[in-house]
Amino acid sequence: MRKSLTLHLGLIALLFALQFIAPAYHHGNLARIMVMASFAMGYNIMFGYTGLLSLGHAMFFAVGMYGMGLSATQLGLSIGPAFGVGILSALICSLIVGLLALRTIGVAFMIVTLMFSQTIFLTILYFGGITRGDEGFVIKQSTRQIFGLDLSDATTRYFAALLLFSLVLLGILWLVKSPTGRVLIAIRENEERAKMLGYDVWRHKLAAVVMSGTVSGAAGAAYGVLFGYVGASFSQVPYSIFPLLWVLLGGAGTVIGPFVGTLFMFYLIDLSSTVTDAYMLVVGVILVLLTMFARNGLMGIVRERWAKWLP
């Protein structure tokens, strides 16, 4: 327990220190990576810990983002309450999706989540009058203020991203050590057995979907707040694939894995985009290689070889 606490608090401390020394370009990247890693960690609750593969997490990200964005621009809420509306929308959305989608299992579950996500994307396009469709809309700098802090300022943005990241990281660390988290892992390992031991499997799965969707929605809302843009592209298929990729690469079912995967992938795409426009090719190749040769991802390998205690 002490080892893992040291590791995760150490990571947060390291990121805190980087704020002061990282060059401006990487400083901006890191803020983005921390928000996206929160998205991936949310995804990991379902995929890594409960064994539910969703192909539609873009919908939670987008619902959080639009819940925040629309309530700020259309209803004129200030950014704090708007952020709350974003999280609440994601919570309601994940509850509905969970209630419906969990009636299916396996391949059907994946396709149902994909379809729901596609429905959300088309809904955003259909109400283009309010959502501005593909084009999206900008959240003005004057609205992105909280407690007298300007969230569009690079330093404040970094700390806000770090705050979200730390909360999610420690929250998930706590979750996987808690009895509920243990039951989720038991469901992943052997659902029938968990059922036989008297656990309410369905209720735990639903809880996992709601937690996962809400965290992803919070990341979406935060992305909109910190980077000032809300757009339909965030609800499209690639944004459902990215968290899967990040989690697989970093190591599914590890607390720190999603961050490692996001960091790696971000810089890999960054590097490859200097060579070619077709950067999604890198995504494809890595996905294939991962499924073939490294099922457990980077942190999974670390756990197997060196650190059995890694949560």
Partner: protein, 308 residues
Amino acid sequence: MEFGPHLMLAMLEGLVQASVLTLTALGLSLVFGVMRVVNVAHGEFYMLGAVLAWWITSLLGGSALIEFTAALILAPLLVGLLAGLADWLILRRVDYDPERTIVATIGLLYIIQQVTLMTYGPDARPVAPPFNTRLALPWFEFGENGFALYWPWGLSTTSYKLFVILAAILTLIGVWLLMAKTKIGLILRATQLDSETAQAFGIPVERIYALVFGMGAALAALGAVLVVPIQQAHYLMGADPLLLSFIVVIIGGLGSLRGTVVAAILIGMSDGIISVFFTPTLAKMLATLLVAMVLVYRPQGLFGAKPA
């Protein structure tokens, strides 16, 4: 145009759509039925068929008819070989595990799509139809002189569109004969029913899987070659057929070939008709939601038998 002729036109367009969709969805259904895996890269094999058709027709000189016939035979063959190879190199190595196969085929999707973008480029390119005679169609009315036929302006189709429908029907019959009447069909059905027992009886299951995966992709490519003189070849054209094929395969019942054909005609037709009269976004939105609900409440599909 009046409502009657307009509806007739919409139905004809819908039938062409349905023909292509039937072939594409049949490929997906075949792969799912026999191998029990979902091929997310299916839409990209479709796209590859269209792009290869453009390539073949532009490389070959000669009349449009010869060029197109060459594309019709070569493009599905090449795509089928490529898919078989992908199966042998990738899917076989992940033991056809359903989840890992989905992730691997998502990877394959981006690889095919992006390599096409890098080589073929972002442009949409047309392929000349081998023949394209405009056929005016009659409509009837009950006027003062009783029943009469007339030719309303705009109500027409082309010989090529009729050929697409015919080609789809012939392919369907071909697939049915293959599955029902030949030895290879028998082996495929045996593998579908119980792959372990089939293996015990000396059927080389892995090679059968590669064959089926290749056949599935070839069917998608064939659909794309047929459609490319009507639409154009573009590196992103695989997304819609993939989604529609998913819808068809789900509505028809996962793995049921007969259900797939019925559902493809139903959905292709209604998609064609609805997008003529309503906005396509709303139509797609409702269709997607409806299908998700079918999966949730009737996972065996509308036509599939209830699992025992």
